[in-house]
Assembly symmetry: C2
Homo-oligomer: 197 residues x 2
DNA sequence: GTCTATAATTCGATAGAC
DNA sequence: GTCTATCGAATTATAGAC
């Protein structure tokens, strides 16, 4: 009963508390303003513990910014509902977990965070788009356009907090932004105004 | 001829040099990382001069973040070319002047900068949209949606630097993003998937 | 008007007691 | 494993000489 397996290791709880506090602080304040001292205070531990467990502020951020978009397999989504599905997914995902907003805030000033953001969208999003039926030759470009609208939505809704964007509910967002994403994914290529090639 | 009116006052040149350097530093590094020392070094003056002229770092930023989108009168733009016109205008505007990118970077972590960003888009953009022929009752919402795509484009192209977005030239941007802006401005309201009301 | 010197904070990181 | 104490560096801001 008192063996090492039954006694929950304090360090695990401490590590988890630090990570949770770090995500909140990084999301709320960005990389620079989020201090190790403040994160430690939120987690009710000593600042030196953060250093002990994560080595440095960079290391803590790297651990806190692990992020899986949990994108659905777009090959199994009805082709005419790709935009709506993706829009609703993103809104749900980042309202349930502030990590992506933290990453977005940090990416504005921290090169490492910007690099990680590029990695997420090049890896996870571009990969998902490639499975949506898009021509592989254009998939990366389409993913970039999708990112421009999706991240712009996150920026205006959660960071800058533009009132008209904050006020939209998920259904309205899907109705307005969904068709944009749909067009970026399915519009014949190239979409030049002179139409032809 | 040698009166005070003909002799260019040194202080004016110094103030202008400080402001120019501040815009570049704020754009490149964001509010926190852009230091008064670095700005002063860029302007080849002493850091204390910055304090003398602008009072504080906040005051300097406030002066450097004055920004006029120079939006055209949308009442004079052919209604079917609103999206393309606006998209090209924004790309041209912020590639000629890094102030908006500076403001965007700063807004990610600095509440004052976010407030200013809201002011610009509520004031200048919403006002322009209201003159585009949009129903006044929906103009603010349409402006918010336009902002979400336009700022997302700036974010992915100039801050995060997603390669596929960076690689698009102005013509391609107008062809891809223009229709999005056009739809946000002219799509009948509401755009629900269930179409009718 | 311009610069030197420095005050007053605050931060990340380290050393070491317990 | 956890905390106290503190270092060294960097920052904004101020005081005052010239």
């Amino acid at each position: 009963m008192t063996g090492p397996a039954t006694r929950t290791r304090r360090s695990d709880a401490t590590r988890a508390a630090i990570l949770r506090a770090a995500r909140e602080r990084f999301a709320a304040d960005g990389y620079d303003r989020a201090t190790i001292r403040a994160i430690a205070a939120d987690a009710h531990i000593d600042p030196s513990m953060v250093m002990r467990y994560y080595g440095s502020k960079e290391g803590l951020f790297a651990a806190a910014a692990e992020f899986d978009l949990h994108l659905p397999d777009l090959a199994e989504v009805p082709p005419d509902r790709l935009g709506e599905t993706l829009t609703r997914h993103f809104v749900r995902r980042w309202e349930a977990d502030g990590t992506l907003v933290a990453l977005l805030r940090a990416a504005a000033t921290n090169p490492g965070a910007a690099d990680r953001m590029r990695g997420i969208f090049a890896g996870q999003l571009a990969t998902a788009v490639a499975r949506s039926g898009a021509d592989p030759a254009t998939a990366e470009r389409r993913a970039g356009l999708v990112a421009s609208q999706i991240l712009g939505l996150a920026l205006t809704r959660y960071v800058v907090r533009l009132p008209p964007v904050v006020d939209l509910d998920p259904d309205e967002l899907a109705a307005w932004v969904g068709p944009t994403i749909q067009r970026y994914l399915t519009q014949p290529f190239p979409p030049s105004r002179a139409s032809g090639r």
